[in-house]
């Protein structure tokens, strides 16, 4: 069985949904950050698969994926800065108990 665009897209969809599930159910901020990275990886995989199969000569999807990587790195940097600020006792909240869906 040859591997085509659909295989990559389904794989990316599976990764994205695993990441989304983890991001919304975990309570540890570091783990939520990790799950968000899985989601972004899934989108990058989608973009690169489209780039390979839909516009093989243009590489536009790959360029977009590079921008996503930059943004992901920047987000993690700011996220880790906040987590460190919390831990170093600058405040008294618990990184282990972030409840994202409470309102």
């Amino acid at each position: 069985m040859t591997v085509g665009l659909e295989h990559y897209l389904v794989l990316a969809a599976v990764l994205f949904c695993i990441g989304l599930y983890g991001a919304l159910t975990r309570r540890n901020a570091v783990v939520i950050l990790m799950c968000i990275e899985i989601m972004l990886n899934a989108v990058n995989l989608t973009l690169i698969a489209f780039s390979r199969y839909v516009v093989p000569q243009l590489l536009t999807g790959q360029v977009f994926a590079i921008f996503v990587m930059v943004v992901a790195a920047a987000e993690v940097a700011v996220g880790v800065a906040i987590i460190l600020a919390i831990y170093r006792g600058l405040t008294d909240i618990d990184v282990n108990n972030i409840n994202l869906l409470k309102w």
Partner: protein, 500 residues
């Protein structure tokens, strides 16, 4: 098109982002000056000069229809309108921040610089003509705002920043998935190219390809986070309560306006034709609008913290704005989506009015909180006697949020609701009017506490100069838009959207 003094066709690409470049230069200048200058008021002055310079340059693009950088950025009146709105908001925020910024001796330069960077991101969002620029400018705005939210570094502020960052990152991943699907089905990244590819695929077929439809749904979910529509609003109450009040004001006004700018830019250009496709997303916005205003207004009633209450109030206002988006999608006017429709000008007018109103309300709260050290509505008792002018200004802004003349909120709602009635959305307008009546209850409760209850102490609440100027400008804006709405409405009606 306006008469143009010199030939714009031959301009170098960087000319198209000159307003943003100027703002960035001033942001860098603020950071550098922060190292050498001990009189920190200079930093605010430099930021204000940068904002004015950028605004003046933006104005030069009014009425143009140009694209730069190969279509990555567009200049049209639509972009100019929003750029001036963002710059105006950050001007008033810088003025209003004086007291707040003085409370932290270090990092003042970073505060102003991040504010200018967030504004730059929003300006780029308004002019974005390509899904890559949409994404990176959205993230530039987001990251600056995450940092600004955590600026107070106390418990609530840091928790708010963490929550905002994590939920914001999840929302932008969802949005990105939507953009990826749209890229995949069309093979293009430019909004104009995508629109043409979509129309080519749809011509002759009566249904939309599933990828395009899911892409649209994911986009609405991602943008719904930005404008704080229910059910993507979980971040709003905590973040609004935890962030520095000036940043909350900035979030509630500029960030929301940027969300609407990008929704109108992307959705009305890519999914404008055929009619039934536009009606599809119009229905989605109509449903979201009903959910958003109703739930937000009901939850706002029992709130005891005024920042939280205004947080829910701003969610409800997004609901009224979405009435305008629904009207835009089901507008009976041919070519309505290229601009010049009553629904689009109504949304623009509402955003301008909402900007002045909410900024006024938040500035008043900032001034009061700085002096009485509390955001609880109960502590506002007798404010009418302790500081009559301040209480009067806050009352006026709250009245505008309800939508009672002569405040601008009335005209804003009138324009949007009229456009919705013309688009056969009477049922939606009726629900929105009922909601406005419900909302009067919690706005007027604050007014009652301020004027009718006796103050705990007779001590006056003094206010410092610059925030007062900011408050006065906001209130004058509310009054001006409410009494002579024709002026801004004329401008809003001239706003066009350029499709490369």
């Amino acid at each position: 098109m306006n008469p143009i003094i010199f030939n714009l066709e031959k301009l170098p690409d960087w000319f198209g982002v000159l307003p943003e470049i100027i703002l960035l230069v001033f942001a860098a200048l603020v950071i550098i000056l922060d190292l050498f200058v001990s009189q920190k008021k200079i930093l605010a002055a430099v930021s204000l000069i940068g904002i004015i310079a950028s605004g003046a340059l933006s104005l030069g693009f009014w009425g143009t229809e140009l694209s730069f950088f190969n279509g990555l950025i567009l200049t049209d009146s639509f972009a100019v309108f929003f750029k001036l709105l963002f710059l105006g908001v950050s001007f008033l925020i810088v003025l209003a921040s004086e007291d707040y910024v003085n409370s932290f001796r270090r990092l003042q330069g970073e505060y102003y610089a991040l504010l200018l960077l967030a504004t730059t991101g929003m300006m780029l969002m308004a002019g974005a003509g390509d899904i890559t620029t949409v994404y990176v400018s959205l993230e530039l705005t987001g990251i600056s705002l995450y940092a600004l939210t955590g600026f107070l570094k106390d418990r609530k502020s840091t928790e708010a920043a963490l929550k905002y960052l994590l939920l914001g990152a999840i929302a932008s991943a969802v949005l990105l998935y939507g953009l990826a699907l749209i890229f995949g089905i069309t093979g293009k990244t430019g909004l104009g190219e995508i629109a043409r590819a979509v129309q080519a695929q749809l011509s002759g077929s009566a249904s939309v390809s599933p990828a395009l439809f899911l892409g649209l749904v994911l986009l609405i979910a991602g943008f719904g986070f930005k404008i704080a529509s229910i059910p993507f609003h979980m971040w709003v109450p905590d973040v609004y309560e935890g962030a520095p009040t000036t940043v909350t004001a900035f979030l509630s006004v500029a960030s929301k306006a940027a969300g609407f700018a990008i929704i109108m830019r992307v959705i009305t250009s890519v999914f404008a034709a055929p009619d039934w496709l536009a009606r599809d997303w119009a229905t989605v916005f109509a449903v979201l609008s009903v959910l958003t205003m109703t739930a937000a207004n009901i939850v706002a009633i029992p709130q005891s913290n005024i920042k939280r209450m205004l947080g829910y109030s701003s969610i409800a206002q997004a609901g009224y704005l979405m009435v305008g988006l629904a009207a835009l999608g089901s507008s009976p006017f041919p070519g309505a989506l290229a601009g010049m429709s009553p629904a689009q000008s109504g949304v623009l007018f509402f955003l301008a009015s909402y900007a002045f109103t909410n900024l006024g309300a938040f500035t008043a709260i900032t001034i009061i909180a700085q002096k009485i050290g509390s955001d609880e509505i109960a502590d506002y008792a007798g404010m009418g006697r302790r500081s009559p002018l301040l209480a009067l200004a806050l009352t006026f802004c709250l009245v505008s949020l309800i939508g009672i003349p002569p405040a601008s909120g009335f005209m804003a709602k009138f324009y949007i609701f009229r456009a919705a009635v013309q688009a056969d959305l009477l049922w939606l307008v009726i629900i929105a009017v009922i909601n406005s009546v419900i909302s009067a209850y919690y706005y007027l409760r604050v007014v009652k506490v301020m004027w009718l209850e006796s103050p705990p102490s007779a001590e006056k609440v003094p206010s410092s100069a610059l925030p007062t100027v900011s408050l006065a400008v906001s209130c004058l804006g509310v009054l001006a838009l409410g009494t002579i709405p024709g002026l801004i409405m004329k401008l809003a009606e001239m706003v066009n959207q350029f499709m490369p």
